[in-house]
Point group: C2
Chain length 415, copies 2
């Protein structure tokens, strides 16, 4: 058992939320009120399915996987992902890289700029371990010079990926010419070396998205080729990387070109796939399966839920649940009631047909339920959500749940 | 110094964010990149001002203060608030009560229903300490019976406040008749006793808000009187409580009626006042000062900021900062650039006039800046925000900052 540990007992004593109550260590039941609700739940079978599904998808195409760790920031999941074959883990900040390193990860892809002496110092401490591979992105000569000076002064060299952005997008050089010019600046500096190209297709907008994303993926490969041909890449096997969880199939096609696979290290870095969801990524996945002409019943499974009590039924047709903006993402869609249980009854779920969340506050969600529904204070509702990143970061501990609704492991996050 | 402690060093090693970098313990400078950004900052002078300002406001009116702790969930702030004279701390969940108890708080006002055996077990463990005063709210006979059975079986008695809600609102009885009927149900039960009345004016909507809130506050007092006259309150000094940080002046007027002050324990429970903000509560406070005919320059001061680097200036007039939905509230207003510093320069801030955040993603914020502005990658921007609750819960550690921009203490949160 990995529940009744000193660490978890200390967290319970500190008043951290969503944990089994004292004495309920072994297989604490979510449907029998042995866990303090609200609680974040990951369904173990769906989670394992997703980890292997995505690894197989990437393996089948001769690419490599660096799952974005910022989604979950959960060391136990990083370990499951690397055990299943992931090349390394992607992170968004220096502190996140430190957390992944502490979890045993040694290949750290920081798909973001590294800025500020404080953050550079964190990375410098990681580079002291000769087993560490670390890359960050760079998109400006100012940042390249700051990095070069900082790491040269410590007798270290930081390997960077030049970021290619899109006009009107987020970070990144806006053209191939800018990328080539920045590579020249970096080549002239000690303490910093170009290791490849990075992009993020998630900020592309407009019609004909699949075509735009494909063209962007092709351009990432073409620029990597141009940099390598101009002898502006300092490593033997240049990295080319892109892809969140909504367009990985299209990026995989671009990166799957034979010369890209042989000459470069093509890294996909979806993050949300591991938990999947009932909203944003469910919709994206169904479009992916359509593009892949795959079985719509195949694919990823929603693994993430947040469980909460009905705490009030103040008016006919209206109920209030004990979960709020503190507990679940609300930026893409409101939480979705999935199933309902009544402690003391058997395990068969009660209906939630035509239930809907109509609003959410810090600690409460408003539910519209059919008038006359047998809904009672104390009923337990499993909610689905949209956008995993912003549910994970609301929890320090997550119940990994088996099919019998028992918490079989408590996963600790490192935000 | 309370920075370079074993606990903080362990948090740095775990990769937690917003902390001084190793070796920068003593007065780590926020403007000299001795703290890993993004970081949450509380300005100590403003914080202390707010704590004492609100305590004085409540004292002057003969009322008592139970600041809502769910806003900050920061034990060090609970201690400052009680040291300044707060009667106790308000919380929203059983786990939060446990956290406040661990922080030394012994008067716990849970302004929410207590639902589920798991959560009741947490409260039961707190009640084992004879020094603990605990109240939760109740609005249904089902919940009252569940509480009574649970606590009676343990030989304990839980003191509850009957919640008065408003039609179309959140939890709570919808009328005085419902409150009186529920009090009769409770009186017939062992293991549970009525200790007063609770309400929350923040879910009232419509025109003439001040009049509506005042009428609601008057009704809370009148119902408490009716319950006491009917001998349906089990404690000597019944509690009457309401008030967030937007209407405390109006609730204070209602609770300030002489017989309410003498006969009852009138508890105000604003939470956001302690950090205040640059949006939602700044606007609410200016309305409060207008109602009080007070000096608009008096009142609360914004104490809460989130600091982040400019990490990219990819196009003229556009910059990207390294803070996102993971770091700062975004439900009421987008973050507001307040001041800017450039490490290596003196302490005078650089201009941010006409800067605006135009969008926010998980780890990034988009800034519109005047074309031609001298903005550089590595510049440090202090951002204000709106709605403190949803900024606090994104941080495990907060830098308490003095006027010289040094972190003088690291405050740890307990979400």
């Amino acid at each position: 058992m990995t529940i009744d540990t000193t660490e978890i007992r200390a967290a319970v004593a500190r008043g951290e939320k969503g944990l089994p109550v004292e004495g309920a260590g072994k297989g604490a039941s979510l449907i029998r009120d042995e866990v303090s609700l609200p609680a974040m739940v990951l369904r173990e079978r769906a989670l394992e399915h997703n980890i292997h599904w995505m690894q197989r998808f990437v393996d089948d195409r001769g690419l490599a996987l660096a799952p974005h760790g910022k989604t979950t920031m959960t060391p136990a999941l990083f370990r499951r992902q690397t055990a299943a074959g992931a090349w390394g883990i992607t992170l968004a900040t220096a502190a996140q890289c430190r957390a992944a390193y502490e979890a045993g990860v040694r290949r750290l892809l920081m798909a973001n700029e590294l800025v500020g002496a404080g953050n550079m110092a964190i990375v410098s401490s990681l580079l002291e371990d000769p087993e560490v591979t670390y890359h960050c992105t760079v998109d400006s000569a100012d940042n390249a010079r700051a990095l070069g000076e900082f790491f040269a002064a410590r007798g270290q060299c930081v390997e960077v990926l030049i970021e290619l952005g899109v006009p009107g997008g987020r970070c990144g050089c806006r053209s191939r010419a800018e990328v080539m010019a920045l590579a020249e600046v970096i080549a002239a500096q000690p303490g910093i070396a170009v290791a490849g190209i990075e992009g993020y297709e998630g900020v592309i907008h407009g019609d004909d998205m699949a075509d735009r994303v494909r063209a962007y993926g092709d351009e990432l490969v073409a620029i990597t080729r141009a940099l390598a041909d101009a002898d502006l890449i300092a490593v033997e096997r240049p990295v080319v990387t892109a892809s969140g969880s909504a367009w990985y199939d299209v990026i995989a096609e671009a990166f799957g070109a034979a010369d890209a696979r042989e000459r470069f290290l093509p890294l996909l870095r979806p993050g949300c796939y591991v938990a999947h969801d009932h909203g944003l990524y469910k919709r994206a996945q169904s479009e992916i399966l359509e593009r892949l002409h795959g079985d719509p019943e195949d694919g990823l499974l929603p693994a993430m839920e947040v469980w909460a009590h009905i705490q009030s039924v103040p008016e006919p047709g209206r109920a209030v649940a004990g979960l709020g903006k503190r507990d679940i993402a609300y930026d893409a869609d409101l939480p979705m009631p999935l199933r309902r249980y009544r402690p003391g009854m058997d395990d068969a779920p009660l209906p939630v047909a035509d239930w809907a969340v109509t609003g959410i506050m810090d600690q409460h969600a408003f539910l519209q339920v059919p008038v006359g529904e047998d809904v009672r204070v104390g009923d337990i509702v499993a909610f689905g959500s949209s956008h995993p990143c912003l549910t994970f970061d609301k929890w320090r501990h997550i119940c990994l749940m088996n099919d019998a609704f028992e918490a079989v492991e408590i996963l600790t996050t490192r935000f």
